[in-house]
């Protein structure tokens, strides 16, 4: 289980856990970031933000946020 920030472009991962306070976790799950969901990293950068693909959606995720999303590599 590693934070999203360590994942590179093009990789596919599965959400393991979202850390943070209740409101934050709630916001994540509402948007679809739930344990078990598969994410594809559309673009990433070491200092900046991520664009991830979650099912049909694209989400823009800031760096601070990406640190709180824990994932497992898939395949």
């Amino acid at each position: 289980m590693i934070p999203l920030t360590l994942i590179r472009e093009g990789e596919r991962v599965k959400v393991a856990r979202v850390s943070g306070d209740r409101g934050l976790v709630r916001r994540m799950t509402d948007l679809g970031l739930r344990p078990g969901m598969e994410i594809e990293i559309v673009s990433s950068s070491r200092t900046g933000a991520f664009v991830i693909r979650l099912g049909e959606q694209r989400l823009g995720v800031g760096y601070g946020m990406a640190k709180k999303i824990f994932v497992d590599l898939v395949g």
Binding site: G32, G48, G60, G64
Partner: protein
């Protein structure tokens, strides 16, 4: 039912919309009485709910068009959109609820949506579902169903889903949910009529159209029914107010708002008991448990009805994003886009600006004078009207084309989906000034007007962010400053008009960054929050949508011009003309104030009383700066104008012909401007002179360098008093506005000083 609007696409399943009413589904989910057998003359109310980006507002625009009324939900700045219209001789009122992903009690939007659905007693819910994003949208749908209000799903963005190769089994969807599903394409107005017919039918027969009660699993359902029975028994009044099913589920979740509204202190033990089995098997986080159950429904349903094609092609959106969101190119592209916006706005609108200006100084003025002469009004009244009202307020109306154009272009960027990318790209930058990418939204609004911007800081969750954003918003050059720039740029920088204009906006942004960094370390230390945002696929906004949204934004400015500024122009006229009978404007009230302050501005290159007086008047509204200047210099050109006693027909002809000329010039500007240089149309020297007496006056008082320093000062100095009032309302104290006034004015002075002095050193004077 056929799709009356003309299109029978292959994917749209016409069979599922039969007219037989399925009469089995009489589920007493809601005990609150709804009228059965409505009177034809009553208004049917429908609440329109859905995810953000589901095309909800496009759909409402498609249904109700110009009959949209935009206000605010009481007590908050979230927009409340209502539309009242007639469909097949029935009156329907639509309430556009804020876009939400869920109905939790956590965000303002959700609370507003919930409250309306619970207490506003809509007859019907229209759930707008994005067909390309079924699973997530259905998560909200299942929650809406818990309310037990008759519901219809508008399966929107259906064309894009089809284009992607999706096949959605609508009939099964209707069966599984017990809710009618109407495919719609809001951008093309398809499905709208069918949707409205279903709405009316449901409103007329609510007991036949209650949504199905979905099974959230035995454990949850048994706990729920225990609680339901108790609630029904002990609080009979409760289910007059709330749908029983919904409130029971909320009690299980520990929903904060529900607990606030209902006193359940006596039932603590009972509830705990009811939940004990659940807790033992699934853990004590009831909220997550319920969320998972709902989500499972949404996911399961999607699996049943949606067939996606095997191969996924990279779509256009990804391709565009690859460029637009590129680490290196992202920000420059954004700046370039903004530059394009400003250039286009200026190019297209300047000819019209000049036209209105000429009309005000020419025919309108003559008509006013004739009219007043006809009723033998005293000279001071004539002066008040022509030099005060017309010169002042009219001057401001002149800028409606420019601001309208800018708002149009910004609305286009919003509607196309680019703005979300811009917010994302800017997030990193925002981060360096200690702000959230979401702060971008109020800041962007600031380019139209700073006042709604201040209210928009509500999107930010924490207080420190709100304050910091509010401090930086005034540096976003608002529409009110545009008249000042345009006049000065027109007088001094015609060759590079678009670029100079853009440089002002850029200067504001750069100063915001600088100020932000400083404030972050001093007054506003704190953690910056986390950014996550949906990036919708790129779309081409419809013309109708563009027009409606642009008008909504423009309306603020126009109304402000019409009322407030009119009043202020008259006030300024008085300040310039009192004490009574004063000869030289210099000695009027405002003039004297200006004279006192003028020395401060000498090192900045504009140490004249005229400039100072105008700047003082800018406290009230920044447009007034040019309005005041216009009034101060008005006397000088009066006499020349009085010579021309033109006839009415001549005037009308003049208006018509010059309007056509202005239109032609606008097109010429845009076409030629697509190159590199910015062009203003050719005009003879005479016409130029006739058109802008103010320009001439300014050219004799300022130099290009001091003009640039002046407009930089106007950009940066204190925000107008209306912003102050908004700030007071938002934060409950004048302190923030006071800080802003001080900090911004000092900043403005320093920057204008730097510009002027370094310019002089470089010999640019």
């Amino acid at each position: 039912m056929e799709m009356k609007s003309g299109v029978k696409g292959p994917g749209l399943d016409n069979k599922s919309q039969g007219t037989e009413i399925k009469s089995e589904r009489i589920d007493p989910l809601v005990s609150s009485p709804l009228k059965i057998g409505r009177n034809e003359r009553q208004v049917t109310t429908a609440a329109v709910a859905g995810n953000p980006n589901s095309g909800k507002s496009t759909l409402i625009n498609a249904i109700a068009g110009a009959r949209l009324y935009v206000g605010n939900w009481p007590g908050v700045t979230v927009e409340k959109k209502e539309a009242l219209f007639e469909f097949e001789e029935r009156k329907i009122k639509l309430f556009d609820l804020p876009g939400t992903y869920s109905l939790s009690p956590y965000t303002q939007e959700e609370v507003i949506a919930r409250d309306f659905l619970l207490h506003g007693k809509p007859d019907v819910i229209i759930d707008v579902v994005d067909a390309t994003n079924l699973e997530r949208n259905l998560y909200l749908t299942v929650q809406l169903m818990e309310l037990g209000i008759p519901m219809v799903i508008a399966l929107n963005i259906y064309d894009e889903a089809e284009a992607k190769g999706y096949r959605i089994d609508i009939q099964t969807m209707e069966e599984l949910l017990g809710v009618k599903v109407i495919p719609t394409v809001a951008t093309k107005k398809r499905g709208v009529d069918d949707l409205m017919r279903v709405v009316l039918e449901m409103a007329d027969n609510p007991h036949l159209h209650r949504p199905k009660k979905l099974n959230y699993g035995d454990d949850i359902e048994s706990a729920a029914s225990i609680i339901e029975k108790r609630m029904e028994g002990i609080y009979p009044a409760l289910y007059e107010k709330y749908p029983l099913r919904w409130v029971s589920l909320k009690i299980m979740e520990g929903d904060a708002q529900v607990y606030k509204e209902i006193d359940l202190s006596k039932d603590g033990v009972f509830i705990k008991d009811a939940l004990s089995h659940l807790e033992k098997t699934h853990g004590s986080d009831m909220e997550s448990l319920m969320a998972d159950a709902r989500y499972a429904q949404a996911a399961g349903l999607t699996r049943e009805v949606l067939k996606k094609p095997e191969v996924k092609k990279t779509d256009v959106t990804d391709q565009i994003d690859r460029i637009v969101l590129n680490r290196v190119l992202g920000i420059p592209i954004f700046l370039g886009a903004m530059w394009l916006v400003f250039k286009m706005a200026f190019d297209v609108s300047t000819p019209f600006v000049d036209w209105i200006d000429a009309m005000m100084a020419g025919p309108f003025k003559r008509w006013a004078e004739s009219l007043l002469g006809w009723i033998n009004a005293p000279p001071w009244t004539v002066s008040l009207v022509t030099d005060g009202v017309i010169a002042g307020a009219g001057f401001v109306l002149v800028f409606v084309p420019v601001i309208g154009m800018m708002m149009l272009l910004i609305t286009f960027l919003e509607g196309s989906g680019y703005m979300a990318r811009a917010a994302f790209v800017m997030d990193r930058l925002m981060h360096t000034i200690g702000l959230h990418g979401k702060s971008f939204i109020p800041m962007l609004l600031g380019f139209g007007c700073n006042v709604p911007s201040v209210y928009a800081t509500r999107v930010l969750e924490n207080e420190r962010d709100k304050k910091l954003t509010t401090m930086l918003v005034p540096l976003m050059s608002c529409g009110a400053r545009l008249p000042v720039y345009v006049v000065f740029i027109g007088a001094f920088f015609q060759q590079n008009a678009g670029t100079v204009l853009w440089s002002m906006y850029l200067l504001g942004i750069v100063m915001a960054v600088v100020l932000g960094v400083v404030l972050k370390r001093t007054l506003y230390k704190g953690k910056s929050p986390l950014f996550i945002m949906e990036l919708p696929p790129y779309r081409m906004p419809t013309l109708r949508d563009l027009m409606i949204h642009t008008w909504q934004k423009l309306k603020h400015f126009v109304i402000k011009a019409g009322t407030y500024i009119l009043a202020v122009s008259i006030l300024v006229w008085f300040m310039l003309n009192l004490p009574w009978g004063v000869e030289d404007k210099k000695d009027s009230l405002l003039g004297r104030m200006g004279q006192t302050i003028a020395p401060i501005f000498k090192p900045l290159g504009f140490g004249s009383w005229e400039a100072s007086s105008s700047l003082i008047s800018g406290l009230i509204a920044k447009e007034i700066v040019v309005g005041t200047m216009s009034e101060i210099y008005a006397l000088k050109t009066d006499d020349e104008k009085r010579e021309e006693r033109a006839s009415l027909t001549d005037d009308l002809k003049e208006i018509g012909v010059s309007f056509l000329k202005a239109s032609r010039d606008a097109v010429v500007n845009v076409v030629s401007g697509l190159g590199i240089a910015s062009l203003t149309a050719e005009e003879s020297e005479e016409e130029k002179e006739e058109r802008s007496p103010l320009r001439k006056a300014l050219q004799s008082v300022f130099t290009p360098l001091s003009a640039y320093a002046f407009i930089a000062f106007v950009l940066l100095y204190w925000p107008c008093v209306v912003v102050g009032i908004a700030t007071r309302q938002e934060f409950g104290t004048w302190k923030i506005y006071g800080q802003a006034m001080l900090i911004h004015t000092v900043l403005a002075w320093v920057v204008a000083f730097a510009i002027y002095q370094s310019g002089k050193i470089m010999g640019l004077s």
